[in-house]
Subunit: 162 residues, 2 copies
């Protein structure tokens, strides 16, 4: 262990950091331009609308989104403030709650996907063939695994997906 990384590994690291932040910034900016809230907000709405009954425990949302607990708590605050979701009592566990997406939330999620998917197509899809995109997926997945485990455990204090 403690070996030195190869030139190729360092180059891949740098690209991964720079390209991701560049593309993410661009996409987030386009969404903001169009008057939409942040991607984190979209992701949460998307998870909620995918869940049966349109509701999830915050702790589930946290796991899905790979966010630290406090970030989830505050994200839900914002969704509720905006009328995109509502907190529901959880009768089975009085510590907890359910977060339920509202109609406005479902509607926003659908409208955001129009802009979001267009941005993905513009900044990713149009630049790679499907085969290359799949190849990129495969390579990235090989980096992802170890920290998914570390993350599954460490999420509660401090790891974040964004």
């Amino acid at each position: 262990m403690r070996r030195k990384p190869s030139i190729e590994a360092v180059a891949a690291w740098i690209r991964l950091m720079r390209v991701q932040s560049c593309v993410l910034n661009t996409v987030e900016h386009e969404l903001k331009e169009a008057g939409f809230p942040s991607l984190a907000c979209y992701d949460a709405l998307s998870e909620l609308s995918r869940a049966q009954a349109g509701e999830l425990r915050p702790v589930e949302l946290e796991k899905q989104m790979l966010l630290p607990q406090y970030a989830t708590s505050r994200l839900i605050d914002r969704l509720v403030d905006e009328g995109l979701a509502a907190r529901r009592e959880c009768k089975a566990d009085k510590r907890g709650q359910f977060v339920e997406i509202t109609e406005a939330g479902r509607d926003l999620q659908k409208r955001m996907w129009q802009a979001y998917s267009a941005a993905i197509e513009e900044h990713v899809g149009s630049k790679l063939s499907d085969a290359d995109a799949a190849k990129l997926c495969g390579l990235l997945d090989r980096l992802g695994c170890s920290c998914n485990e570390a993350q599954a455990l460490a999420v509660r204090d401090g790891a974040s997906a964004r």
Copy 2:
């Protein structure tokens, strides 16, 4: 235009976002554990130490690091507060200044590289062959689009960006 992205493109996008943030968090966390400042700080020191005379105009640093102007200004504040860099008058242009890395800054940059490169090796290098790392680079570069210019040089010894 405004076409829908393929499944593969969306999958690549999601991987890019998740894997990057996951690996970045892990690496940043390891550096912090070891008592080091943030990667942004490392990157700035790295750029400065690479510059001739160990000094740069803030506006140059900004371009190298792809940071907004105010972020650079504040990053320099922090470096100066920590004694890692010093502001120098720029006689040729009195609006401007030079930022010069100090001995402490050079020393920290070298010590951080030990930990940083080990983390890159652990989380990237050891998971991909050099050929695969190069392939990943190539695919990412095709997404890198407009933000690529500044990055071309940076492979030398461990620059990155957020």
